[in-house]
């Protein structure tokens, strides 16, 4: 097995101070390997975007470590981000906000080369190549971002990150703001790029049905914790955590059968005051008494790991004290 590009161990991120402190991410372990897309799904407010930002060093960690190619990833603060971290990039959700409206597309993409110490002319040449790679005409270098549609702008944003020759990209809801056919186009583009260059990618999305099409592995988050992680096909076809199950059941099928998707009652609880025991217990159809007091650990079950006392009663969950087992393939 190849070494992970990106390695997160026991990562916690907190917002606010004192009594108002919110733990947005709580003890997450993740590995991203070359050529792999790791899907990160969950409802809004589950901490998936925060985790993505923490993985690229945009959020300070309250606990734990993030390593990229063996080196620690830390928020750059006011300083310049180190050259070794340039190969860890991010694609944002809103292609209207992630491109400076006052600069030409060519300059924006050339940044990836210029900021790495390259010459501007080389950067512009690279910009043309990359634009063509992402399916836009090379002469788009002379245009401004507002001259393009949402999907085209997202391609430009992707080309910009590619100019830094990334090894790993965190894509935060990269297609959610796009139109139906643009979604599929950009999702496919990301898949191709990962396969071509053996990139590692974290694909953050609220849409499990999309993640399922692009991701090799999927991690399902609920209230700052990973509740289930494993190969996409395994998790999708046979979800073990009741939350994953609810997410899958809630996806409307365009099969013309008129089946109403299954409702998951209730809302994501306030992360400032998470429920005791298993965070999911107030909404869980399988809830048992011990779920209200005991914290479930990620335990291997049926080819993936799930954090559920009922469905994945591993040794750790029975005893409640065994340290975390590694995520990923058992």
């Amino acid at each position: 097995m190849t070494a992970p590009l990106l390695r997160l161990r026991d990562v916690a991120v907190e917002y606010g101070r004192g009594a108002a402190r919110v733990r947005a991410v709580d003890g997450v372990d993740l590995d991203v390997r070359p050529g792999e897309i790791l899907g990160l799904v969950g409802e809004s407010g589950c901490g998936k975007s925060t985790l993505g930002r923490a993985a690229t060093g945009l959020e300070p960690l309250a606990r734990g470590t993030v390593e990229f190619l063996g080196r620690p990833v830390e928020p750059a603060g006011r300083r310049r981000r180190g050259a070794d971290l340039r190969r860890l990039q991010m694609v944002f959700q809103d292609p209207y906000a992630s491109l400076n409206p006052r600069r030409k597309v060519g300059e924006l993409i050339a940044d990836g080369v210029v900021l790495g110490g390259g010459r501007r002319a080389d950067g512009l040449r690279r910009a043309r190549e990359l634009l063509e790679r992402v399916g836009l005409p090379g002469d788009a270098v002379g245009s401004y971002p507002h001259e393009f549609s949402g999907g085209q702008r997202q391609r430009i944003a992707i080309a910009r990150t590619l100019a830094a020759d990334p090894a790993c990209i965190v894509a935060d809801e990269p297609i959610s703001a796009l139109d139906a056919s643009a979604q599929a186009q950009v999702a496919n583009l990301l898949s191709e790029l990962v396969a071509e260059a053996s990139l590692g990618m974290v694909f953050v999305s609220h849409d499990l049905s999309v993640v399922r099409q692009v991701a090799h592995r999927v991690a399902v988050m609920y209230l700052g914790r990973i509740v289930e992680i494993g190969d996409t096909a395994t998790v999708w076809s046979d979800p073990r955590h009741p939350y994953t199950e609810a997410l899958v059941a809630a996806i409307p099928r365009a099969d013309g059968a008129g089946t109403l998707p299954v409702d998951l009652p209730g809302d994501v609880p306030d992360p400032a005051a998470p429920p005791s025991g298993c965070h999911f217990h107030p909404r869980c159809p399988l809830v048992q008494d011990r779920c209200r007091v005991q914290d479930p650990r990620l335990e291997p079950v049926a080819g993936r790991s799930a954090a559920c006392l009922v469905r994945a009663p591993g040794s750790g969950n029975r005893a409640g004290a065994v340290p975390l087992t590694g995520p990923g393939r058992p």
Partner: protein, 313 residues
């Protein structure tokens, strides 16, 4: 896209429907057109804007060609004092027998350039300090903003008076005094613009590519924050003219015999029954201040978020 954008924006209060972006799907080279520049309300259709620009243009011409336009030497005490307006002296003469018209025309050579210079200076100082405060935060921010608070704690004219008095009554010192009271507004505005832009995704993505904080400040944040600063500056030139004239009126700015509007109004106040002495320089101040306000408002309309959204879409 193009013009479709503005009509797709439903009237105020109506929830927006689909994102106004009919070209949103990505695809081949079929690039969507430029957002509707032409659909933007043209400033040339608004009477106030046109008035403002025309008045300013006229005053600029006056300032440049004052020697040619003025019928007499503005400083020559060559006539009978306090003559009412007549064919020979359209605006009359003042208390020492100078031609008021000539002095008003020459006054433009003082008020306009000094006001512009001082606003530019205040803007530059304020923008640089505010930008640094906003971007670097910490002690830089604390020092700059406490300084600004110090200035804000006093009414502008009082503080300017005190500074001008301390430095000595001289036009140059009056300008310095007005700069000192004016820069904090720019610092505060630029700081808030930078603070909001600092977290903008395009700034974050530049940082991820390895741009230094200073570079994002100059390359990414500056061009996107310049608009509101220019609007403020345009509106501020009027204020600067007023403040400078005010200081001169109180004897702390331009010194006799300089033809300066504020000082001339002061002379008019001494000879209140001879209305022409103070009225015409007063009107000059009024028209310049109003014109700069009209122009500033127009700039704001052109640069306002609604228009910005049109460009964005």
């Amino acid at each position: 896209m193009t013009v479709a954008e503005s009509p797709l924006d439903p009237p105020a209060g109506v929830p927006a429907g689909e994102r106004p972006d009919p070209g949103a799907a990505a695809g081949g080279p079929g690039r969507t057109g430029r957002a509707g520049r032409g659909s933007r309300r043209s400033p040339w259709r608004q009477p106030l804007a046109v008035t403002g620009f025309v008045v300013l243009a006229l005053w600029t011409l006056v300032a440049v060609f004052a020697p040619a336009l003025a019928p007499y030497d503005p400083d020559a005490q060559a006539f009978d004092t306090l003559q009412a307006p007549s064919g020979a002296h359209l605006f009359g003469t003042d208390e020492v027998g100078r031609d008021v018209l000539s002095r008003v025309l020459f006054g433009a050579r003082i008020s306009l350039p000094y006001a512009v210079i001082l606003v530019v200076a205040a803007m530059l100082i304020g923008a640089v300090l505010g930008g640094l405060a906003g971007y670097f935060g910490g002690w830089v921010d604390a020092v700059v903003m406490r300084l600004a608070d110090l200035v804000f704690a006093f009414p502008g004219i009082i503080l300017a008076l005190a500074i001008a008095a301390a430095l000595g009554p001289q036009l140059r010192n009056a300008v310095i005094a007005v700069v000192v009271v004016s820069w904090p507004s720019y610092a505060r505005l630029v700081r808030s613009l930078v603070l909001s832009a600092r977290g903008a995704q395009y700034v974050v993505s530049s940082r991820l590519l390895g741009a230094s904080g200073l570079r994002t400040l100059v390359v990414d944040i500056r061009p996107n924050s310049a608009g509101p600063v220019f609007v403020m500056a345009a509106l501020d030139v009027g204020n600067a003219v007023l403040l400078l004239s005010g200081l001169s009126f109180l004897g702390l700015g331009a010194q006799p015999p300089t033809a300066e509007w504020g000082a001339m109004v002061a002379a008019g106040a001494q000879n209140f029954d001879r209305w022409w002495v103070g009225l015409f320089p007063g009107l000059a101040i009024l028209t310049v201040v109003l014109a700069f306000n009209f122009v500033g408002d127009t700039l704001r309309d052109v640069l306002d978020p609604r228009t910005a959204r049109e460009v964005r879409a």
